[in-house]
């Protein structure tokens, strides 16, 4: 956005008047005008802080076993009860936030970098680049996503980092298509022509001129994709091929917890609620960001 303003400001997704109006608003005005967005920004920041300070917030060592107190219901000492080895569920769920947030960041980064670079090249160069990237993405989309992830993880070997790569690859088509569409629009615009005229290289045009101008929808997509990535990783952990024991991962905790629903349902409820809250926040944040960033969707 910043780079876009420095150049010839051609408003596309974000109108010029909106930009100007936004500058005038103080923080309180912002909150009043964008209550939903503000609320979810706060929740999101809180989640990030929980993840960052998980070790300080955990009341026990999340991997320390205490068999004599296994499968306890919630109490003052153990806010979410204990699991099958007597480990504190609250501490494990908190520590699990770190795992999930890291996954969201790494997996979305992989999708974003690969998808955007492919999309830029396909959209801007067209021709063979477009054909190859387009066919690849079509092929990937023809394959059920979670099955592809399972295949990738099994090929690389079970583990959290391999699962992140798999989830990252799953997100590539979304960014590719989004970026390519935006680039096709943008490259006909005058600021691109102008850059071409002054002799900017094609890579410079793609990354310094076009990319900043199409960033808004990518930010929205990244938020939605963060939620998707956490869900996909939970699914892979649930299947036992992502986070390995004793890593406190929400999906893995639910996987074991589901077997103990009759014995101690809290082993599944804690991590289940955590996944729900986190993914919901990502989705709502993405939704609110879209409303905020896309003037066409402005209703008030």
């Amino acid at each position: 956005m910043v780079a876009g303003e420095r150049l010839v400001p051609i408003p596309s997704a974000l109108g010029e008047s909106a930009l100007a109006a936004r500058r005038k608003h103080s923080l309180s005005r912002f909150i009043v005008n964008h209550r939903v967005l503000s609320a979810f920004i706060v929740i999101f920041v809180a989640l990030v802080l929980v993840a960052v300070f998980a070790d300080a917030l955990a009341t026990y060592n999340p991997t320390k076993t205490a068999p004599t107190i296994k499968m306890r219901s919630p109490s003052g000492a153990h806010w979410l009860g204990t699991d099958y080895l007597g480990r504190d569920m609250y501490s494990r769920v908190i520590k699990g936030a770190q795992v999930s947030m890291r996954v969201a960041v790494i997996a979305v980064s992989i999708s974003l970098v690969v998808g955007v670079v492919m999309g830029l090249m396909a959209g801007y160069f067209g021709g063979l680049a477009d054909l190859l990237c387009g066919r690849y993405v079509d092929a990937q989309l023809a394959f059920p996503g979670i099955l592809l992830a399972i295949a990738i993880v099994n090929a690389l070997g079970p583990g959290l980092y391999h699962a992140m790569i798999a989830v990252g690859i799953l997100g590539v088509p979304l960014y590719f298509r989004l970026t390519r569409g935006q680039v096709l629009q943008a490259k006909e615009q005058e600021y691109v022509r102008a850059a071409e005229v002054i002799g900017a290289s094609r890579w410079r045009i793609m990354f310094r001129h076009i990319l900043p101008n199409i960033a808004n929808p990518l930010v929205v997509a990244a938020s939605l994709a963060g939620g998707n990535a956490i869900l996909a990783l939970a699914a892979l952990s649930f299947l036992g091929i992502a986070a390995q024991p004793p890593t406190p991962d929400w999906g893995a905790m639910i996987n074991i917890g589901k077997d103990y629903l009759h014995n101690n349902m809290w082993m599944a409820i804690g991590p289940g609620a955590a996944i729900f809250l986190t993914v919901f926040t990502y989705y709502m944040l993405g939704d609110a960001l879209r409303d905020y960033l896309d003037p066409r969707l402005k209703t008030r």
């Binding site: 068999p67 099958y84 080895l85 390995q244 074991i256 014995n263």
Partner: protein
Amino acid sequence: MRRGWRGLCLVATAALLAACSSSNNNGGKAQPSAPAAGASASATRAASAGSASATAAAASTSAAAPSASAAAAKVTRGGTLTIAIDSNMKNLDPLKSTLLVDRQIHYQLYDSLVTIGPDLKIQPDLADSWDTSDPKAIVFKLHQGVKFQDGTDFDASVASVDVIDQYTVKLNLTQPFAPLLATLVDRAGMMLSPTAIQKLGDGLTTAPAGAGTGPFRFVEWQQDDHVTLERNPSYWKKEGGEQLPYLDKLVYKIIPDENNRLNNLKTGDVDIAQRPPAKDIAAVKKDSAFVYKDAPALEFDGIELNVQSEPFNNKALRQAVAYAIDRETIVQTVFYGLGVVSNGPISPPLPPYDASFKPYTHDVAKAKVMLAAGGKPNGFSFDLLITSNSPAQQQQAELIKDELKDVGITVNIVPEEFTKLVDDTQTHHFTASILGWSGRIDPDGNSYNHFHTGGGFNDPQYSNQQVDALLDQARASYDPEQRNTLYKQINQMVTEDAPWIFIYHPVTIELHTPKVKGFVLVADGIQRYATVWKSQ
């Protein structure tokens, strides 16, 4: 549910006593004159079939109080018994199979020359009697009038050994081999129809229709879904004059998830659940909707250590791990007390088992001393292979990881698919691996191949010449007392050397609805359904 059998026993007492005592002597052969062989020949087939039930009633720990008044007439014939089994089968040809789940099917299709009851003593089966007066040969008298399910006569021509007459065969040995009869109870002693072998060829492995003499015959095997067997109408065994088996059909539903096996039993979709989840046993025991029993199993479970590579080529470091693991806590926490701490390959039902031998108690200080003695006072790290998607193994590994952390040893848990784990371990591409052995009724079957230099199951590549000599000696001896002494010694030396960290001996579980009657629990973990029936 036991009443029928009690009544039956009273009728057949004399014959039973003869059968039991004779097979006793034959099981651990001491006297070369073997008068027992003649005595066991007198055991009629009714008696031999009944003896299993008789000893079951005696060994029973069931809450269902038996009353001797009822008679065998109360048995209900017919019906389908549905069994939840834990894994797909691999091979239905007993001579090519290596898995316990395969054996669950084999025992319904095939009879062996000899069999065992719940007391694990050898009993006559297709062989009425045997003579072991020559330590390097054994002569079997075969039961007459038995037909294979495909109509072929069962006689001496079936066995690929020396034929003496139509119903007498002789097995020659290159050297004395005490565990022979015990070996013949299992797959090695199962008799297959020569006609079926010729006709079916490789089909024996997937669809062995008519190949056995057993109580049930093969109908179909849907891979990863179910196996169906049906009643063999011309089965050669009777129980108290009643033609066996009682059931019309057996359906094995393949359900790998232990919780689902139990849920299927709860909903009535299956009648019997094999290997139910340990965590639910306490609730199941209290529930009158189920019949539950268990018995100490022949199995041993633990961690195999590769003694030919770092770090476990160092005995002190192996012992450090043994001291650092709290096995009693594992048994109580992960297995909910269903089993006992293991102190070697000799499991509780075996005669040489010594409950007083407890070399490793959980002792962090001692573990640290051993670490220092092994030259790693600050600990070390190693990869521990476990079977993926096995909750029990995962929990065990997590607990072990946490316990070893207390002495400075770092465990990296590496889950692998079961067949890959077995393959990696067998080819010695491992450092430590959680595995078990289902166990055999002769101590030789729990030790020789595992701990003899170059043995077929010696994954850790353990080699101790003294142990080798003792194993050879025990195998060649027909004196039960001497064998017991030898196996106690072997058990002690192997546990001391710690190529395995022996963790626990589980129990064999019988779990079904109250409708299922006549079940006989045997410590070898094989469920036999010839005498089982279902009330309406």
